[in-house]
Every structure is written in structure tokens, then in C-alpha cells.
Symmetry: C2
Subunit: 366 residues, 2 copies
Amino acid sequence: MAILLSNEEVQALLTMEDTLRVVEDAYRELGEGTAVNRPRSDLYSRTNLPDAFHVFKTMEGTLPSHHVVALRIDSNVVRWREVGGKLRKEGVPVAAGNRYLGLVLLFSTENGELLAIMPDGYLQRMRVGATNALAAKHLARADASRVGLLGSGWQAGAQLMALALVRPLREVRVYSPNAEHRESFAREMTATLGLPVIPAAEPSVAVADADILASATNSLAPVIDPGWVRRGQFVTCVKHAELGTGVLARCDKTFINARRANPETYLPGHGHVDVHDPVEYLMPGASPSGGGRGGEPDWAAYPELQELVGGAAAGRGSEAEVTCFINNIGLGIQFSAVAAAIYEAAVRKGAGRQIPTEWFLQSEHP
Amino acid sequence: MAILLSNEEVQALLTMEDTLRVVEDAYRELGEGTAVNRPRSDLYSRTNLPDAFHVFKTMEGTLPSHHVVALRIDSNVVRWREVGGKLRKEGVPVAAGNRYLGLVLLFSTENGELLAIMPDGYLQRMRVGATNALAAKHLARADASRVGLLGSGWQAGAQLMALALVRPLREVRVYSPNAEHRESFAREMTATLGLPVIPAAEPSVAVADADILASATNSLAPVIDPGWVRRGQFVTCVKHAELGTGVLARCDKTFINARRANPETYLPGHGHVDVHDPVEYLMPGASPSGGGRGGEPDWAAYPELQELVGGAAAGRGSEAEVTCFINNIGLGIQFSAVAAAIYEAAVRKGAGRQIPTEWFLQSEHP
């Protein structure tokens, strides 16, 4: 039987402890060369709306220790909208019920069978939280106990849950421009983590004296003032734009997720192009200053997290070093690891909707 | 509702006429740049068996005229076996019921939803037959009426069905080393096509005086003697190895499916490598002369079928020219075209198993 799961079921099955463990194993296997990753590809098509495009995003990875390969598929309509003078790419919920399509398909590498189909919404945030915490495990000071957090969304919560598993946290201060959000986030996370999570009215107050400076916002512009970075700190974010070159320049040692930082992007009328955000190709009239990430560092010059986890690259060298991890693009093997953990838990607990395996098999050799 | 189909249902829904029409449209759109194709990728993993490997093959294409993107997924175990002194890669039917997994997932580019899941076995042969016949439409002489066919398997049947739609066929002669096979094939195809299909005991007899010389075998070594090639002929095959360089040298004008002739191959221990068959990497002890295609032409030097269909490249230039088409690697848009035709027919006829669209949607933006 293949198992079909909902986000609610995934949430009930997946602990952050498990996520962190399987993600660490996956990076180690990737570093050893046994796990294999196909970089993300993005195929764009025009739609019936002049300013909306369909993007078909896939990535995959094999994880031999769990005998699985996972394929992540996002099939959604996107639109670029100007926000604060910058173009921002936004998903448009045009599927039935104003929803999105994001799936992870898990297959057995022993017999090829489809094992599970699950939505990627919940697990994709868990894997980001776990990945950043995995970096913290190798890069933050061993006694790091104070977190300064920017952002109070779901991603911010995942960051804290994961960081609390790798360092002896004693206090978190959180800033978000919306007072109500940061206060309710602080209340909830205080209860979840069992340690004081304190709302701060100013970002500089949130990050003062922090051992770990974590940004988990949806901002496309830098949110960290380089002046906030302290000796011995570990800095992390959920996307590069939050940091800016000023912060990067303050870091002694920076790791990234992948040197191949752009997806394989395929566009109508242009074929294969090497860009992360193709707005300049698809909407040539759009503001040339918007769209692209602009001012991207030369990612090829940075070491990858898999080298750190596998021991090929050295982590923190001294108490005073400023270390940094940038989750610059997702990897298929992150999904393989987390989907395998979810599937194994679902089998143990009999969770999910059972679908006959035979529906997806054939006698014909393809 | 998403529709789940079996190979039997696909067969009942898909005519060769429709296949040919949609494949031609797809190549035209690809030539115009509106359709977009992601080249095939192959991810290999080791299995519990020392000489068997799992290969996860995906390719995809967007087809704006049908508002779809199709993703083909093959998840199977393969093994290299020595046949006649050469290593041959074979699928091993290790899924439940000794079966294989090969699927096409069709998505809407208007709202992102999953429209259909269908096996790729039947449609994949129809798309090969239709693609070669599409080439014949542009490259065979207008009065081509005699086919010399090598091979009597299912693929050979698809070739004839498709060729009969583009040229005024009057006679087919077929050779296969197994007398019983070629005779039953001849009987069946005579009935199907309504024209004489005559078994030949020698390949040279089958191909004598042929206007179209078609090979549809599973041989990895050349099956056509260069001396059989006649002026004015159109030569085609289902894989390059059937031709050999001697035949290629006799052809005045040769088109291929794609200049990017190798899949994006990812291997444990090697990462991304630019080979079609990675046996030399995975089984270093294997005969170095086997495995790889060996003596591959420089595909980058050949024009593609999309250029011919779109009019960017000239087809047959004279009655005397020898023309050739080599289906050197599959394209995602072939699957998009054929899967779209199948889906549209299934909707019209209410065929297949209905699966709630909501099972594959989520409120969370991925």
C-alpha cells in the first residue's frame, strides 16, 4: 500500500528531533557521496493571464540508508508584484479552494514502488529549521544560550524548536514589526520550549548580547544591521537577502547549502537560463532593478554544509570567530530525509490513507 | 477530480491519429519556443544486491496549447548482463507482481492542479512511433509506398501504424530472426493496416526496394548493412545503435531528436557525469568495451526534429537524397502531448478512476 498523508497527519508524525537526526544523516551521506541529489529545476509557462506564470518546480534526492528516493513537485501560479519599490514573486492560490500544489513523492530504491505521497508545506519548514540548527550544531559556540530572533512567523518557530535541540538555550528575544504577532509568538514559544521568549519592540534590543542571531522573515531586503554582529556569534537566516553584504563581510566563516545556487531554469522563448528569478526575461517591461536577487555573493567560493557535517571542512575555529550559515537553495535530499522519517512513522502508527500500490505499477517495461 | 488510468484504458482512449497530431503540434511549439522541455535526468542508487541499481528517471515538458505540464517518472531496478559479448542494461521487474513503475503525471498550468496519473508503457511506444512517422512526413519521398521493417515487437507495430498515416503504403516486408514471431506479426499487421505485410526469411529480402527502411529492434549492435541503403530512401530506427556509422555515412541528411543526447546522470560517489550509460562508473570491473554506446556520433553537429517541423531546417531536397531520423533520446514534451490527448479523451468519455483533486492540494504556500 502507498500512503497518502495530509499536512495535519505529517505534523502529528514528525518531531523536530527526528527531523534533525535524519537531516544530519542525509548531509553526512551526501558528503560521503552515497546520497545523490538532483538540483532543483524550474519550468515556466505562460498562462491565460498576462502577468501570471505557471512554475513547475522539481528536485529529488536518493538516500541509500533509508532505501528511498524522494521527488518534490511544486506546481503553482506565480505573479510578480511591486512591494516597497521592489518586485516580489508571490504564489497565487488558484487551485480548487484557493489552494496550492506542493507534493513529495517517496519511492523505494529496493523495488521502485511508490511508498507515499505527502504535501510539502509542513515538512518543508521543518527541514529548513533542522538544516539551520544542524549548521548551528557545528558553528555556534558550545555554550551559546541566547538567541536574538527576527521574525515571528511559522518559519521563526521552526528555527527555535530546532536550535533548542542543539544548544543549551536559556533565553530568546524576538522582534517583529507587528506588536501583536511578536507577543503571541513569544507566549506560544515560551510554552512550547519551556524557556523565556521575550518580545522586543526594537530589533536592536532583540539581538543585543545574542550568541545566535537568527533571521526568519520573508523580507527581500537586509534586516540585520552589520553593527549588530558581535564577536563569537553564529548568524543564520532562511534566505540570503535577509543578510546583505555588510553582514557577510563581518563573518569569519560562512557556509552555504549549495554552490549551485540557481535552479535549472527553463523559460518559454529562452530555453535554459542560469538565473534564480527570471522576471527580467518573462516581463521585460518590469523595473530592471527589481526581480533578480541583485548583488549575490559568488556562491562558488563558499564551502557547503555537507563538507562541514562530513568533516571535510573545519567548523568554528575559536570562541571569537563570527560564523554564518546561509540556506541559499533547497536540496532534494532534505526532502528525502524528512519524507522517509514521516513515512516510517506513518507505517508504525498506521496513519494516512492507504492507496493500492498496484495502481501505480505496470507489466510493461517502460 | 484527477483521473487515474491503466495501460488498457490508455490504449482504448489513444488513437495513432491523435498521437501523431499532438506530437506534431508539440514539436512545432517547441520549435517556436512556446513549449519548454527539461532534459531527462537519471539518478542511480545502490541496492541490497551488488550488481543491481535503482534508477530514477524523470523528464518533463510544458505544452501551452493544452495548458499542461507532464512529468514522466520511471523508478526501476536495472542490471547489466552480458549478451553476446556485450553488456546490456535490463530492467528487473521487482515491484509487487513482478512489475515496473513508469508513470506520467499531468498537471494544469492554469491552476497547478494534478489532472491525471497514467502508466507510461503504452503511450511511450505510441510517442516513439508517432515521432518517427512525423520525421517520415517531412523526410520520406511523397510517393514512398514500400516499407522494409526489421523487428516484429510492439515497437515495430507502432512504427507501421504511424507510417501508414503519413505515406500511401502499399506493401511492408518484415524480418525478425524468429520465424514464428515475424509470421504472426505479419498476419496481425495485415489485418490492422489492410495492406500486405509479408514475412521475409532474410533481412536483405525484407529491405530490398524499400522506400522506407525502418528498424525497431532491441539490438545494441547495428542491424542494417550499409549496402542495403538505396538512393531516395528514408531510414529510421528506435535507437541509434541499430544503425551504426556505416549507415549514417550513407545518409545525405540526418535529423535527431535532441543535441543534448545524454541524460543528466547523477551517480553515488561521482555526482553529475555526462554519460548515457554509467556502467563503467558503477561496475568498474565490467568489460570496458561494453556498456557505453561506443562510437557515438557527435550529436551536437546534427539538426533537431523540431527545426524540421518548425521550418527552420530544410527537409528532403531531392528525390535521390537518402534521409534519416534518429530518435536518440526522449523528450518531456512528447509525454506532455500524448498525455494531454489521453486526458482530454478520458474526460470526454468519463474513463478512468476518479481521485479527489483535494487529496493533492494544501492551504500552505510551499
